[in-house]
């Protein structure tokens, strides 16, 4: 526990956690925007154009590195904070705490862990194909055709069910994360609190819902 990284104060680590969380939440909006192009019925014109832009643009490539760093540090800091939290109470209570708290706020490490498992599966299904680490028949001119790859996954009921459940769990994670990030960054004022609360709740419902619509579309509508 003596490395310089661990010696950052608890609040410094949390502020980084909040900044990275907000960055990842912005990324989710962009990702959803691209994914929803799958539903356009234009033969993949918009979706593939967006995928091509994301895969080849140099500014996006720089941001890709920032994004990966963001994910890694968000996860790493979260794990460090959680281990410190467990260590802070070596002897547990006999009677479980009955204090009222927002239910899911207590389980961020677990919802976060499940999202991490999803991320690994997601990488294997998409990003690793792009890198050429995983083979796939839908690769032309060195560029994978995700417009064909995605429906092949979503027409599998088990994969779609897993996808939907994981996005519901991500919604739970985001619901607490959004409000907690602003509190950590010191934004707490009667004038803004309601706005943050409702915007956070709306974000945590709409973003996962947007992702969930896609497997439902491929399973039942198309």
């Amino acid at each position: 526990m003596n490395s310089s990284f661990l010696r950052f104060s608890s609040i410094t680590k949390k502020i980084w956690m909040a900044f990275l969380g907000i960055f990842l939440m912005i990324f989710l909006v962009i990702h959803l925007g691209i994914n929803l192009c799958l539903l356009r019925g234009d033969g993949g014109a918009w979706f593939n154009a967006a995928a091509h832009f994301m895969g080849t643009n140099y500014i996006v490539k720089v941001f890709e590195v920032v994004l990966f760093a963001g994910f890694i540090f968000h996860i790493l800091i979260g794990i460090i904070l959680q281990i410190q939290n467990w260590m802070a109470r070596p002897i547990r209570y006999k009677v479980n705490n009955k204090t009222y708290t927002p239910f899911l706020s207590k389980y961020m490490i677990y919802t976060g862990g499940i999202v991490l498992v999803f991320l690994i599966i997601h990488f294997m299904n998409f990003y690793f194909i792009k890198l050429g680490w995983v083979s796939n028949p839908h690769i032309s001119n060195g560029e994978p055709d995700f417009y064909l790859i995605a429906p092949e996954l979503f027409i599998q009921p088990f994969y779609s069910f897993l996808y939907i459940v994981l996005f519901i769990i991500l919604g739970f994670h985001l619901n607490h994360a959004f409000q907690a990030a602003w509190q950590t960054l010191g934004v707490n004022h009667p004038q803004y609190n309601n706005c943050i609360h409702w915007f956070g709740t709306l974000y945590a419902i709409l973003i996962p819902l947007g992702f969930i619509i896609i497997p439902i579309f491929f399973l039942f509508i198309r």
Binding site: I11, G186, V187
Partner: protein
């Protein structure tokens, strides 16, 4: 009232404790919780048994000595009170009451239900003061304070340092306590002189003592007998950021 008490018994700091079950009869619903424990202890002493050790002092909710975790809640089932202000009418006849000490690494058990809260004193020593020159008291209106800030500072200063925030927090975090102590100075002009050093040193000490990290579950605010607001934690975060960056 007839009660079953499950009380944490621990001979000393080095011993391993355990829960012991006792029966208690003829308790008035108008007893305070600590009076109930007094009656129990008198019975223990009369039977030549070791009485249960627990912290208490003023018994009117202002000293912050109570530290009982009762049936899964710090200070018991009533809101915005300390254990000494809790009355037995909040329980029912025949109830089983489990009483535990505060559980946190920086709050080691001394004996039975008494914990060592020196950790809070150490945090206060790092910055819970302001610089004032000795001599005659200055004219009060020389330094003007807005009504809003004066009230917010007073609300923060209501913290009695009992440690219920740490006891309630799933992470044993002391952020609500530290934020109250930071806020009561940060909101007043007199507190500005040492503001940056204060927040940095108090947070550093809080971390070194082994308190957990705040994950914004707000159990601390829900259990605080003095209703210290979570907005103080946001203020602490702001003060800390400014002290580090600017």
């Amino acid at each position: 009232m007839k009660l079953t008490l499950k009380i944490w018994r621990q001979k000393d700091a080095k011993s391993t404790g355990k829960f012991v079950t006792y029966s208690l009869d003829n308790i008035s619903p108008n007893c305070s919780f600590l009076e109930m424990l007094d009656i129990f202890n008198e019975q223990q002493i009369s039977q030549d048994k070791d009485p249960v050790v627990f912290d208490h002092d003023c018994r009117e909710g202002i000293c912050g000595m109570c530290s009982l975790y009762i049936n899964g809640r710090p200070h018991g089932p009533d809101d915005a009170v300390t254990a000494c202000q809790l009355h037995m009418r909040k329980f029912s006849d025949g109830d089983t009451i489990t009483i535990e000490p505060w559980r946190a690494k920086p709050f080691p058990v001394i004996k039975d239900l008494m914990v060592d809260r020196t950790a809070f004193d150490k945090i206060i020593q790092e910055g819970g003061y302001i610089s004032v020159n000795t001599g005659g008291a200055a004219e009060a209106n020389n330094i003007l304070v807005s009504k809003v800030n004066a009230e917010l500072a007073m609300d923060a200063a209501a913290c009695i340092g009992c440690g219920a925030c740490v006891a309630a927090c799933k992470n044993a975090s002391a952020m609500l306590f530290v934020s109250a102590k930071i806020s009561q100075f940060a909101l007043l002009p007199q507190g500005q002189i040492e503001a940056k050093e204060r927040v940095k040193k108090m947070v550093k000490t809080m971390d070194e003592l082994g308190f957990g990290n705040c994950t914004n579950t707000y159990a601390c605010e829900a259990e605080c007998p003095k209703l210290i607001s979570r907005s103080n934690i946001a203020r602490l975060n702001r003060e800390f950021m400014c002290a580090k960056v600017i």
